[in-house]
């Protein structure tokens, strides 16, 4: 009997050892959607070329942060690389979950990623922002753009690019008024949390307001500038479709592709959907513009996807080699053809790409990145975003006045950050 038990144990151990041969050399955590799909395809190419097995673990947006944070806290080393949304970087870096890449670049004899990367794209990968060491390499060049149906805006009396939010409002209101409750001039993400915050921040900046003062000692939502931004946000809400209080990016995208809404703030990965005849009724009709101005110049929210090595990784050099390869000019160009906005100047200006209609937004997108603003860099950003998201949701749903929402958010964020 005992011999049988030993035999079973021996078989189980052998099976584990055999499987061990097939275990991945590097494991990468990526979000669902085009960003993750692009990196998955790149990983397949890398595996074929280098013989390195790259395992891709794909999860919905919110779960990527959760999985990475959990792996970091438990030092599990489950993931060698994490494809991160840039506002998460302070949390991961300041809690010791990310590897400082300085020594890896030093081995290559360079101080950091080359200058073909856009400066703003590189800035988000330093912690502290723009000044600290590199803790990641940019991969997907997301920054919001203003999407609008040029023909409908022209019919509504606004020829050319809308330069200010007042321009947007006038044209969009005319479209909504004429739409009979079926067509709208503007649509936004009003869903509680990340959604509503993502669409509010560009307005906040374009009216000269910000979440914190320059030296990060005070929350600044109780200012006249923030109130002006909120006033415009609520004005735009009035001309948006019924139900935006629960809208996420898919709802906004669908409203645009069906022609129900004529303008919105959105991420560049939606361009491919807008230009796809199988998914869109507005192919060739949507124009792309930088963020409109308020009382100050408009600024897009940057939302880059960046690759960082986890501190618990057991394959750090292999991970760095993969990241360097995947973010090379050649691979970023291939990634662009797979639907991921680039982060390199040479790809943004590559005539082979810019001559194709599906990449006609590249000059605007590059401009949007160059004039973008990062979400406030704070290790408690997820909590801050939650608090602001709830108050903005209350304002959008009409349960508190816009000014009360700002006052409540001011208090809640002051408490979270200990800034009074």
């Amino acid at each position: 009997m005992l011999r049988k038990l030993f035999l079973t144990l021996a078989i189980a151990t052998s099976a584990l050892a055999i499987n061990g041969v097939a275990w991945a050399d590097i494991t990468i955590l990526v979000p669902s959607g085009s960003e993750g799909d692009g990196l998955r395809a790149a990983a397949d190419d890398y595996a074929k070329m280098k013989g390195t097995k790259v395992e891709i673990v794909q999860a919905p947006y919110a779960n990527v942060f959760e999985k990475a944070a959990n792996a970091g806290q438990t030092k599990s080393g489950a993931f060698d690389i994490v494809l991160m949304d840039d506002p998460w970087i302070p949390f991961f870096a300041e809690n010791g979950h990310l590897e400082d890449l300085s020594s890896y670049f030093a081995k290559l004899g360079v101080p950091g990623p080359d200058n073909d990367f856009l400066a703003k794209s590189l800035s988000v990968c330093r912690n502290p922002y723009n000044t600290g060491p590199f803790v990641c390499i940019p991969y997907v060049g997301n920054a919001q753009m203003f999407f609008y149906d040029g023909a409908k805006f022209a019919q509504a009396g606004l020829a050319g690019t809308p330069a200010t939010w007042d321009d947007v409002y006038k044209a969009a209101k005319a479209i909504t008024d004429a739409g009979g409750g079926r067509f709208y001039g503007y649509v936004f993400r009003g869903g509680q949390g990340n959604n509503v915050v993502a669409d509010f921040m560009p307005l906040l900046w374009s009216y000269g307001a910000n979440l914190f003062n320059a030296d990060r000692t005070k929350v600044t939502l109780d200012t006249k500038e923030a109130k002006d931004a909120m006033t415009m946000f609520m004005t735009l809400r009035e001309i948006s479709p019924k139900g935006v209080e629960s809208f996420g990016p898919e709802d906004v995208g669908r409203a645009m592709t069906s022609g129900i809404a004529s303008s919105s703030i959105n991420w560049p990965n939606w361009v491919a959907t807008f230009e796809d005849p199988s998914q869109s009724q507005v192919v060739g009709k949507i124009s792309y513009a930088p963020m409109p101005a308020g009382t100050h110049a408009g600024s897009s929210e940057i939302g880059h996807w960046t690759m960082g090595i986890t501190s618990a990784s057991k394959n750090k050099q292999e991970a760095f080699d993969f990241m360097s390869w995947a973010t090379s000019p050649e691979q970023i160009k291939i990634s662009a053809t797979r639907g991921n906005p680039p982060v390199r100047f040479s790809v943004f200006t590559d005539p082979e790409l810019t001559s194709q209609p599906q990449f006609r937004h590249y000059p605007t997108l590059m401009q949007a990145i160059n004039f973008s603003t990062p979400r406030p860099r704070h290790p408690k950003w997820p909590e801050i975003e939650n608090a602001l998201g709830i108050e903005l949701s209350k304002a959008v749903a009409g349960t508190v006045t816009p000014n009360e929402a700002l006052k409540n958010a001011q208090e809640a964020i002051s408490k979270i950050t200990n800034m009074y």
Binding site: F65, N95, G181, N195, P241, S246, S258, I390
Partner: protein
């Protein structure tokens, strides 16, 4: 003498010694041991971890030692408005959804038991919602509620009624979650009630009919008392399940608008995995656990299910 020699010989011929005999004597324990170890690992470890974490401040940085805060995490719960809102929403959701599910489930079971016994395919159709994965249920209802393209507003439009924001309307959002949950879980109650009704004895009903008792009196004085244990188990299971509602809210509203659908599970998830405040999340979970266990014990005792 011969038997003794023969026994000694047999023992000598057997392979192995005392260890093998011990293993054979304790075979049942040895066979169960891996399962018991795995179960202990999966239940004891998280419970002990939760108990200790609830008394500590756990930093997201693994190099920062845990700080003992005693009942600090529990005291924090008293002044957390988002938690209070989540508790209120959870209580509203649980009481309304479970009541509706019970009434509908019992009503349908009585209907099937009395009038449409033979239509088995109808029973199967009614059970389908319960068998669909919760995430698929949530996504389906998201499409139904979609304000511009959803089936519900199309129906409203055709009936000449005004379209609604459904999940986006602060006054309707909780009702939309309840409706989806009722659709998904009424079949569960229906199934249990139907099984209960099928097991009822016929003699008391025959006697009641002879005595001239109305259908209502038979239902109230015979069916309900006979069904009491089944009703209690059905309610207990549904209440415990409803208290941990997550999927529908996460997909349909993410707790919004304006916190109108934020539930305890969603809030605990946010605290633990979005804010990475494990100590506070453990404290809330522990209180929820105690309340659920306390309620279940009271409920079982009250209905004398233990007898």
């Amino acid at each position: 003498m011969v038997r003794s020699e023969s026994g000694t010989l047999t023992a000598q011929l057997r392979p192995g010694g005392g260890l093998e005999r011990w293993a054979e004597r304790h075979l049942r324990i040895l066979m169960l041991a891996p399962t018991l170890l795995i179960l202990a690992g999966l239940t004891l470890f998280p419970t002990v971890y939760m108990l200790t974490a609830a008394l500590q401040k756990v930093s997201p940085d693994p190099s920062v030692p845990r700080e003992f805060v005693g009942l600090g995490n529990f005291a924090r719960m008293l002044t957390d408005p988002e938690l209070h809102l989540a508790v209120r929403n959870t209580v509203v959701f649980t009481s309304v959804a479970v009541t509706l599910e019970f009434l509908l489930g019992l009503g349908l079971a009585l209907l099937f038991d009395k009038y449409i016994r033979r239509l088995n395919f109808l029973k199967t159709i009614l059970l389908v919602p319960m068998m669909i994965p919760p995430i698929a249920v949530a996504l389906t209802w998201k499409l139904i509620y979609q304000p511009q393209f959803g089936v519900l507003n199309e129906l409203m439009y055709r009936l000449g009624l005004p379209a609604q924001a459904w999940a986006g309307d602060v006054n309707l959002a909780m009702a939309t979650i309840i409706a989806a949950d009722v659709w998904e879980w009424t079949p569960f109650i229906f199934l249990l009630m139907l099984a209960g009704l099928a097991s009822l004895p016929s003699e008391p009903y025959e006697a009641a009919q002879v005595d001239g008792a109305s259908a209502w009196r038979q239902f109230w004085d015979l069916t309900i008392p006979f069904l009491k244990p089944v009703i209690a188990i059905a309610l207990l299971l549904r209440i415990m399940d409803a208290l941990r509602l997550f999927d529908l809210v996460f997909i349909l509203t993410v707790g919004g608008p304006a916190g109108a659908t934020e539930t305890l599970s969603l809030y605990i998830f946010k605290v633990a995995f979005t804010f990475v405040d494990i100590g506070y999340a453990a404290a809330i979970s522990l209180v929820v656990l105690f309340v659920t266990v306390g309620f279940s014990t009271w409920f079982i005792k009250r209905l004398r299910l233990a007898d």
